[in-house]
Symmetry: C2
Subunit: 333 residues, 2 copies
């Protein structure tokens, strides 16, 4: 295993210590229990927005803490759910008297621990609403997941709901918005090469020299099928066709599109995939209103990409355009 780490057991903490030092104008990191929190939290009268999950998907979630996006993030060990005490502490830390929204990716451990934390917080008088992201069209059930996995739509939900909270949407309205985003977002990913969890020291799966995995999960969970390596055009077609058919998206829809790198794929290749995606959507009469091309929800150094499409209404697009100041997304400030 070749990694720029000290010891596998220190990787997450060391990395968060670096994040805190690099962005001390935006966030701080509490070590015990471990969470990342916006510098000015709690913001009085504003509903808090929290997410979290296993580490190894950076910049998600710690890199999305800051004005206009998350109030806090709860990072677990690599590909491991955060514990209820982390989530509880983060929720209490960002509660400004208007309650807290939990945006949870659909993995069994995350669901269980966020639920437990929500109960603990509610017992202390803090109102919590939870929305589960389950946007991966690849497979119905999976390792670690009953139902669909939560992937790229999480990033878009965090941006849009973070902006809405900044505009002082109350908690029920924020929850309804987040559900609408999740209902209208779909994703699918693929891998050319696996990743290695530091504590394991071995690749999470094996792929032959001329194979790729379509529908891969962000922890390397099996996808729909293992196929021979295809061109970027074919990859964009396969991914976008699966995504489009699922909602389904229709002619005349406007979308926020994300072409996301899994961590080990050069930006050059992601723009090639975006070019193909834009061509395909244009042919179907679907307008890309906003887009992200880059590494936003990664799987350590996995090579590959995912496509997320969110059918967006005027409200979502307006919220998308609001200022955001986080390590991972920044504009308008």
């Amino acid at each position: 295993m070749k990694k720029l780490i000290n010891a596998p057991e220190d990787a997450v903490r060391d990395s968060l210590a670096g994040l805190a030092l690099a962005h001390m104008d935006v966030l701080r990191v509490f070590l015990s229990p471990l969470y990342v929190v916006r510098l000015d939290a709690p913001v009085q009268g504003k509903a808090g927005v929290i997410s979290g999950g296993g580490s190894g998907h950076e910049p998600m979630h710690g890199g999305y803490v800051g004005k206009g996006m998350l109030d806090a993030a709860c990072p677990g060990q690599v590909f491991t759910s955060p514990t209820p005490d982390q989530i509880e502490a983060a929720t209490l830390a960002v509660n400004g008297g208007a309650g807290v929204l939990h945006i949870v990716k659909n993995y069994s451990g995350d669901i269980m621990n966020f639920e437990m934390a929500a109960e603990l917080c509610q017992a202390k008088g803090v109102e919590v609403r939870s929305v589960v992201v389950q946007d991966d069209v690849a497979v119905e059930n999976s390792l670690y997941t009953a139902g669909r996995r939560g992937v790229g739509t999480t990033v878009l939900a965090e941006k849009i709901c973070g902006a809405a909270a900044e505009r002082r949407y109350d908690l029920p309205r924020l929850e309804a918005l987040c559900r609408r985003v999740c209902e209208n977002g779909r994703s699918m990913g693929m891998a050319l090469a696996p990743c290695t969890v530091p504590a394991a020291g071995r690749p999470t799966f094996q792929l032959g020299e001329d194979e790729m995995e379509m529908g891969i999960g962000i922890h390397g969970e099996p996808g729909r099928e293992r196929v021979p390596v295809m061109s970027a055009r074919e990859v964009a077609e396969r991914l976008s066709e699966a995504v489009l058919a699922d909602l389904p998206f229709r002619e005349g829809d406007r979308v926020i599109a994300m072409v996301n790198g899994m961590g080990g794929t050069p930006l050059m290749e992601l723009y090639i995939v975006y070019h193909e995606l834009a061509r395909l959507l244009k042919g179907k009469g679907i307008a890309i209103a906003r887009r992200l091309v880059g590494n936003y929800i990664t799987s350590l150094e996995m090579a590959g990409c995912s496509i997320t499409l969110l059918r967006a209404d005027d409200e979502m697009i307006s919220l998308w355009d609001d200022p955001v100041m986080t390590p991972g997304l920044r504009w308008g400030v």
Copy 2:
């Protein structure tokens, strides 16, 4: 070779087509000859700032075109210099009557072709000044290079000089500033794993399972030494000691620091290296005034990182903070 491309010969153009579609509010791409140009170029009365070089280092340089940074970028094929006609066309396109600064990385082909283009432009009455970046402390001469290679300081020079041009520095003052940035910037990189140029189809070099290359070039050129894999702490020490000793940086200096990923290294690891770097510099009484942590000057999917330190004065830091709106760097707008 596993890559998200269509054909190797189309990779650069397809990628730039994607860049153009994704950022049509910022830049456009001309195909013949190939260059990326700021949407509102030429800006009358403003000195133009241009860079360029082989592709495969994205977001550099095309991703740094936009308000507050480059007026144009000239991308060659992967790891191949752009041709004089590209550079000439880009220079003429961004000339707003105040001349054009060429920021050139020190590689023999780049030097030769930028010089030829500068002569062609001057023959047409456009004043051109050129500054060569040669900040890599690893080796004196190298494949493709007489003298030191130009690497990470290029990104910082493009940001700072782009801001200065926006403030309407005239060309001689811009050139002097750029030279000062280059004189005060130093870099060194390392690799854990090689990259594969699409047209070649084979890795540019080989590394054993427990080896890393210290002082690697951004095209995989040999560095100082091949050593057993080290911890992130040791890597940060080795790189920063080489960089610090060279200028030399001294107690009391303020720096702009960049921990740059080579393309295939997860953000988690880059923040671990930044944490170590920050600790080391603090111990030496050197203050990090500003920093970048991420993929800024890459080598396709190479795994590894580089450290760049720029001894910065008040003027540089003030220019650094000015607004920038490019695909690769964005703040203040």
